[in-house]
């Protein structure tokens, strides 16, 4: 297991280099630069432009710029945002908890619902329940997220008035930030009303963000379950006279979980990175909208640093998934 992990970590290093190179070259391929974007339609004095570019180090050849970026990144320094002159890391850390909280709640919705739907579909294969569940999953997967979000807002927030329209918490509450996760912070402050407000704000965005992962998990669970239910050991379990619930939940699910955990891991990665649409629909102050704005402003350090940080997280999540494999499957745990 330890050798397996070391090997996995060894693969991470070239991946990192690849990511830095890719994010650096992609953002530099977009026409324009931060100074031009900031000045907009106004006239720029060529002398001032030169000076500004020099101050940002953007007048150097690209390979030197990349080298400096790489060396700084290795020292943990992701540079300053061109626009705000705040360290990239600091901005990221301030916004990231909001994204984490939203992603976590989205998975809290997607995993149980997806697993249950997939299992029901597998058990009722070819029957109405199967077609119904898989039809809903396909619809969820294919639906444009922004439309789905707006429809939910229209129904639950505007017509029924059950949930707030946007934001993370009502403006009434002033919660001392400790972790940055408002669910935790409001509990730490013993403010139940604030906690309730946070939960209400989370419901709709979580459902919207969790819809695609839910659909993916449901489909994966269904096919994995169908495969496992054909296995000989399921026949053995039935020959033991065990109840259907025990056969499915204990004997089949554990073995069907392997591919599902992979999918969940991949989905967590995309959630952390790509809550962009959901964040903008619900005015959610997370890293998704931050990155989009940074690309618009050609804020090179933010884009490069942000992508690197998110990529690191995705790699960590995948590493976690690998470890989880060992927990689920004893054959992997015992392999050297």
């Amino acid at each position: 297991m330890i050798r397996f992990l070391l090997r996995r970590i060894g693969v991470v290093i070239p991946t990192f280099l690849g990511i830095t190179l890719l994010s650096f070259s992609l953002i530099h391929m977009i026409p324009g630069d931060p100074i031009l974007v900031m000045m907009g339609e106004r006239h720029i004095d060529p002398e001032f432009y030169k000076l500004a570019m020099h101050n940002l180090g953007l007048d150097q050849p690209l390979y030197l710029q990349y080298w400096h970026y790489l060396v700084n990144a290795l020292h943990g320094n992701l540079g300053l945002s061109v626009r705000s002159q705040v360290p990239v890391m600091q901005e990221f850390l301030a916004l990231f908890p909001a994204t984490v909280e939203l992603s976590f709640c989205a998975m809290l919705f997607a995993v149980p619902v997806g697993l249950a739907a997939g299992m029901i579909a597998a058990m009722r294969r070819g029957k109405v329940a199967d077609h119904g569940v898989m039809g809903i999953a396909l619809t969820g997967y294919s639906m444009p997220i922004f439309w789905w979000g707006l429809m939910l807002i229209m129904l639950f927030s505007v017509k029924l008035g059950w949930t707030p329209v946007s934001g993370r918490i009502d403006l009434l509450y002033d919660i001392q930030p400790v972790t940055g996760l408002l669910l935790v912070d409001s509990l730490l402050a013993h403010d139940m009303d604030a906690f309730k407000s946070v939960v209400m704000h989370l419901i709709l965005p979580s459902i919207v963000l969790g819809t695609i992962p839910m659909a993916v998990i449901a489909r994966m669970t269904r096919s994995a379950m169908l495969e496992v239910l054909r296995e000989d050991y399921i026949r053995t379990a039935r020959a033991k006279g065990l109840s259907m619930a025990r056969i499915v939940l204990i004997h089949a699910l554990r073995n069907a979980l392997m591919p599902v955990v992979t999918v969940i891991g991949l989905q967590v990665g995309t959630l952390l990175a790509g809550a962009v649409l959901t964040e903008s629909i619900f005015s959610w102050p997370g890293v998704g909208s931050w990155l989009i704005n940074a690309i618009g402003a050609r804020d090179y350090p933010v884009v490069q640093g942000g992508i690197l940080l998110i990529a690191t997280l995705i790699i960590l999540v995948n590493l976690l998934v690998d470890i989880l494999y060992g927990v689920i499957n004893p054959r992997i745990r015992h392999a050297r």
């Binding site: 053995t236 039935r238 020959a239 004893p330």
Partner: protein, 327 residues
């Protein structure tokens, strides 16, 4: 009264409009403590018959029977919850491929104790104690540490021993062994078969032994049922069948045993294969392959007729000298 009484059991797959009969009108009975050998080629419906008995045929498969009685209780239309109290406790089954029949995600102990917890009042340490006893009963060395082993850490023979331990955990009245040694190394086959027969004797179980191995059947069984293409073609006491087979198919099976063809250059074989879903002949199912086939055999389907001490599904059942009794 017989322990197990099966009367006209049929299993159909496919749609109602185009059904395929995998098993057709099988009669079978097993007395308490008896060993019945069921032999036949692959695809002859042996395993499907047993799965139907265990209630393990899923839709769209359909099981019908005039009677399917175990220990005086009708199994066929029993509620699932009621049936689960019998299956795994009073009737249990072991399968051909032990390595894939154990759940790879759980330890041997877990899978053994699970059965005990389902069917016996044992709880806590008593469960573990009984599990250990069972592993020792099936002669697994170092049983205590094997309780915490996972199936992938066991050899094929060891896995089959664990399967046997699970099957006999609740002292069943009937054990069905579906080719229990086919997937094992030759050296291990004998050991497993001996273990199985010793346990059968000491526990007084009825045993249905499905096998290709006629030699084993000759040694241990009291009755032999020969199946072909989903039908019983001959039922006979074991003392009779080897010397005086009544059905041409049985005769051919016996002739294909290597020991029976001393001196002959090639092993005797029956040309052709078991008919599948689309090439079922009308009349006798063996007629395309039968060396003694008559015109009547191609058009009329024979029933089981008494022939000597046996019953055989043949219009011209063989006489004591192994020649068809042409009318």
């Amino acid at each position: 009264m017989a322990l197990l009484e099966i009367n006209k059991l049929s299993v159909e797959f496919g749609s109602a409009a185009h059904p395929f009969r995998a098993v057709s009108n099988v009669d079978l009975s097993v007395d308490a403590g008896d060993i019945v050998g069921v032999v036949g080629e692959s695809g002859s419906g042996k395993s499907v018959t047993m799965l139907a008995l265990m209630g393990l045929i899923d839709a769209p498969g359909r099981v019908t029977a005039d009677a399917l009685n175990f220990d005086g209780k009708p199994l066929l239309n029993m509620k699932p919850a009621q049936k689960r109290q019998i299956v795994g406790r009073d009737i249990s089954m072991i399968f051909q491929d032990a390595l894939t029949s154990l759940n790879p995600a759980y330890t041997v102990g877990f899978q053994l104790i699970e059965t005990l917890r389902q069917h016996t009042p044992l709880r806590g340490d008593a469960l573990k104690q009984r599990a250990l006893e069972l592993l020792e009963l099936v002669e697994i060395p170092d049983a205590k540490s094997r309780l915490n082993a996972y199936p992938h850490q066991l050899s094929g023979g060891m896995s089959q021993r664990v399967m046997i331990a699970i099957a006999i955990a609740c002292n069943p009245k009937l054990l069905i062994a579906d080719e229990p040694t086919t997937a094992l190394d030759v050296t291990v086959q004998q050991q497993i078969m001996e273990l199985l027969l010793n346990l059968q004797k000491s526990q007084g179980m009825g045993l249905i032994l499905i096998t290709h191995d006629l030699a084993v059947v000759a040694e241990v069984a009291q009755h032999v049922v020969v199946m072909y293409a989903g039908e019983v073609v001959e039922k006979s006491p074991v003392t009779e069948i080897f010397d005086r087979p009544r059905h041409p198919y049985t005769q051919a099976l016996l002739a294909s045993i290597p020991e029976h063809s001393k001196g002959a250059e090639r092993l005797h074989t029956l040309p052709g294969v078991v008919p599948g879903q689309y090439d079922r002949p009308s009349g006798c199912l063996l007629s395309p392959r039968c060396p003694y086939v008559q015109d009547r055999c191609r058009t009329e389907h024979p029933d089981l007729y008494p022939a000597g001490a046996a019953v055989a599904r043949c219009f011209y059942a063989l006489d004591d000298a192994g020649r068809p009794t042409h009318v």
